[in-house]
Symmetry: D3
Subunit: 275 residues, 6 copies
């Protein structure tokens, strides 16, 4: 907020222009009633913040996280609006979430949460209104449930209402490595601008889920030396360089190492789907 | 919240039933862009909380107040849901508001706020969805603007989408004195139950807007002795009894007394419209 | 228009208020493509003028007449708005028409015109938008076709979208004699106010279709002496009084007399349906 | 069909009129995907036949029965159209069903079937389109689930979209005994027309669910002697007369007798809800 | 069905997966009321089966045939779903039809059938719901009527709601020869795979309507020797080869030969439009 | 009309075909209530004529002009239908307007007129219904207001509902010079066909707003000699040739010359936006 005020002074924005950067156009909060596998019903708070659509339909992910709340989702939605504008995509900014801990829910329960979200927010989303995407602890499979539920609710096919969906439902090739690839492109530009030699650079990657593994793999392929890899459960280090694909296999194939990171298969999958 | 937990223990409610009493089904927050008379634009946060509609369309007022915020509107919406259920009306509970100080706005500006509210929330209100009403600093005139704007937005006549509207637009006779009349009926029942004699009872009324004046007038007519009248600007007291109609005339007709209460005619009208 | 200006001066109306009395809110004109019985297609201009709906849904008849045009329909729609307001019915004013000569069309062709009208204007009519009725050369049967076509177009039952429909489709008893009955009530009030004796009054009725026959019949029953009856083809006169029912039977049952009035059965029916 | 042809010859109906009595206007069949309590998914064929709505919205029950199929539902829908017309109610005729055996499903599973039905057919039902009701093996509780699901799907309150719902959701008093009461009225008229003495008549009732129990109780109250009661599991007979209320209590309260009829509580409830 | 069970065993499909291959998601049957040229009205049963839309909007033709019924249309819809999936087009499978013999109807009557179909099924078809196409005894002209009627019903332009329409209404070049061309491509691949020489192959074509004529013409152009041509009325044979274009001209231009095939011009046209 | 009859005789058109060229499919007229800057309200007649959409959505500009009326707009809509057909664009023809003098309105007032137009006609326009564009005294800025108001009214993003909008809202590069460029292409084709030498041709341009300036500039660049330039306020002439860019700068930058043309900056801008 302080930075916003400072920026608006520098840019000599009117009060009305500042207001458009300070508050979302529309906020919707719904109570999702979800059946647990034991037949009991729970009510989870769910959000969709639509910050600004002057440049096109709202766009932004949906996170499933115990710490998701209205304030967090609002600030993330504002960031999406600015990110889309900065790279000149004809989309606005939005963000959504459900406040619960998916690690404590079965796959069937998570499907029910996803379907409940899509149904509750169906009136305000869609290809020409607001286009969700995966975010923290949501992945292509969850986008697929949301798409299916949305289409059933509105009674028509509309695959473009969500991104990050499975290939079989109209997703695009490369979506899973896109975050890492984007980071690699940016790094590449910086290295070129600074006139550095990639083969002489040493890289440590923090986080070894979807984004972390792929950027390590891509940079390794470009000649960078990967000297460190870490995730929330431990770290690997080697001055002569690590092979990210071998590390990835070790993490997922070896029972021993997997056991270090995570107590079940759900957890492994969620980690891979982090966006 | 504490009381809710206590009550739910006494009633042995399930977790799902408590959740329905704790959180609203749907919350919508909009940024209303309103033009001031000087041509500048302002953005005002506006709310509609739809607490529960298991028993029928949501029902509840809209307040224009600088202290209106999401928390206040939520708790008022919950109260509406319970009030409607207690008296067995087939309606649910809702509440709305706009966070601004109407005393600092001209009548034309307030009309624009009212129209902006109706237009922004048109998709979620209506005779079979959610039926607003006047509340703090909103009155029949404002309901009329909202009705007109709503009908223009949805393209049909639907006078039943709002209550507390002017008689000429389909409002009902007696709406302006209904709050006071209701209070009088309740008091009457209590007095009867306690076997008291109204003519020997002394009454002081706090607040002398729409509700305060009318209940004083009604009780005076029933033989109660009105010994005190007050509003936010002053008070009258008489051990032998006051005539509420005379006091009302004095407040509104005498320039001197009016000046005590309020700096302009807008303010007087708003005071009269308090619900 | 002159009278409007004069009236608005007397009433000190604002320019905006006068404008609302001068121009309709909405005018729609459609080209109806209708198949003749010989398989050729014709295009007929059709209108719906919606003058004012501040007091409720637009209300007014649909005429089938070669002289129906936008100007005529506009002035009739304005008159409807004022008529509804004067008698304090919560309805606005509208009027519609199709420019063609129904006397030159078969019953099946007229059904197709009626259905084409209902389908073309379906988006702007309905129980909460605009409620048509019979007018010159349209009758209960035609309202029935319009109701059926409208319901098929919008996909729901909505008998209240039109008045003057057949009893079997939800019409009300007494609709066919309502115009005459209304005239009789008005006359009765005048006679009472002037303290006259009906049995000493002599009445001549101009027009002997639906309205003319029924008012003659009603007044005859109230003791008035009916000394003259006429329609576009001839007249009857008797100083000692005529029996309207006998005259009606003579007009319709006797081939000779019917032939005087009209060349075919269609024509007879249309005459009966004049409103 | 033979009878239809015979009748149409007697009435000299046109081919088009016979067609309207032979085939429904609209048939919809949906595959309902329903989750069993063990997490597996089943697909059940579901129907809604809308026979004729010339007189008003379609009206007719929904049955849950393993033998429900398109042919049965079609003929029942035709019967509804004729029944409503005969008693001059402004409603058309429809009927629906789901082909499965509710006796093999838990209450939670039946709720899911009911909700799936309401959601699948939501586009073609509603207060002004088609108004369902309970039928074989469906009851007020199931109507309540359908109403709730329909309202969630269309996003508005519309209690009138279904009849036979619980009192708390807007159902009408007397609905549970209406079938029996109607039968009693008809019998009463016949007895009166034949000039018989009820107190000398002996009655045996076949079926002892909702309709059977109540008509036995009502006739008993009117002085008829109830000499026989039977249901699908057994029969009671007494030349001196039975007390239906005592029999009903015995059937439901006594473990021994209940065990004769049914293996669980679900079954008992279904029996009570037969229409 | 047997083959489906066998296949599902081989593929180890779950019961729910088999169900999705066994029954359509949605079936709609309507009674189309159509006016004959003599003014009488007929009621024709019409169908649209929507088998599966998991991969995209339903897609499939509409046939006008006296033998069209629900069972036939269901199995054809299932085939469409599988065909679209096999060639990986993002469309599902559907099929429709009207049960009547178009050879006994005039062109104007067939237009009315086509328009009645489009209007009756308008709520369930559309570019994002279900996209019809020509099939047995329906052609580009009929698709044009359906498109026009659909657009009038929904009130917007949506040329993509149907395929196989006339070029002037947005149809694509090559649609009329596409079936034949597709067959030629497949044959060509087989011939190539078997290492055969087209110029040494002899071809007999069964059927000489749209598909038969064009494949004969295309293969003739590729060097195949066309030794036989036949349709439902006769056959031509020549060991040295036939010229398909000459045969086509002879069939359509010579009165004598035309007379052999067909008793009127309607019939000729229908033959050409077979898909 | 005479020419239409002559043409239809030459082309041997049917009566129905002529009718489609004579009368629009749909005409809508609305009364726009607009607030002036001084707080008073005015009512302006506004039009949208939809001539023919057989080939695709209606397409045509909106003019703000005191002489705009239904007859003018109808004939311009007809011209649009024919123009789109002649150049084989899959669009129909329409035209709209508001009858008022924009030179007497402030920029804020004109914004309110534009928004009122978009809101009043929102039900009949849209990317698949009718696509407006700038015309006399309307420009990209006004299209931007209309787009924004339309999107707010329908609740979705739909930039394609209008053309001639600002680049930032999805407009296309080159739209501002398109009219002039088109004229230059046509002239170029004629010159080529007549085998003339552009460098020897002398050009005088009548009108020096958007179209006039750009065609002068383009032709000048192609080697034509610009000997005359004029607008409604004066003219420039030079046998040796004028530089259009210099003339344009002189007109807009020099106070003296600008004063000749126009009394204020609003007027200059409007002139530039003429289409």
């Amino acid at each position: 907020m302080e930075r916003l005020e400072h920026a608006s002074e520098l840019l000599e924005l009117t009060e009305s222009q500042v207001a458009a950067l300070r508050e979302p156009v529309h906020i919707a909060q719904e109570s999702l009633e979800v059946m647990r596998d034991d037949g009991t019903k729970e009510t989870l708070p769910a959000y969709r913040v639509q910050f600004n659509n002057a440049r096109g339909p709202y766009k932004g992910g949906i996170r499933f996280h115990p710490a998701a709340n209205l304030d967090e989702v609002k600030s993330l939605a504002a960031a999406m609006a600015i990110k889309c504008a900065v790279v000149d995509i004809p989309l606005g900014g939005g963000k959504g979430g459900v406040q619960f801990n998916p690690k404590e829910y079965s796959r069937a329960e998570i499907e029910r949460v996803a379907r409940a979200w899509a149904r509750a927010f169906a009136p305000v989303i869609g290809i020409d209104k607001d286009i969700p995407a995966p975010d923290v602890y949501t992945n292509a499979e969850i986008m697929g449930y949301m798409l299916d539920e949305y289409e059933k609710t509105v009674g028509k096919s509309e695959a473009g209402m969500i991104t990050g969906k499975p290939l079989a439902l109209g997703g695009i090739v490369g979506r899973d490595t896109a975050t890492a690839q984007g980071g690699a492109y940016v790094l590449d530009e910086i290295v070129r601008a600074l006139d550095l030699d990639p083969t002489k650079l040493r890289v440590a990657v923090q986080g070894f889920g979807n984004a972390g593994f792929h950027i390590a793999r891509i940079l390794h392929g470009l000649g960078y030396t990967i000297v460190g890899l870490s995730d929330s459960k431990g770290a690997l280090m080697s001055q002569t360089g690590l092979d990210p694909e071998a590390a990835y296999r070790a993490k997922h194939e070896s029972d021993v190492i997997t056991a270090l990171y995570c107590s079940g298969t759900v957890c492994d999958e969620e980690r891979l789907s982090r966006d």
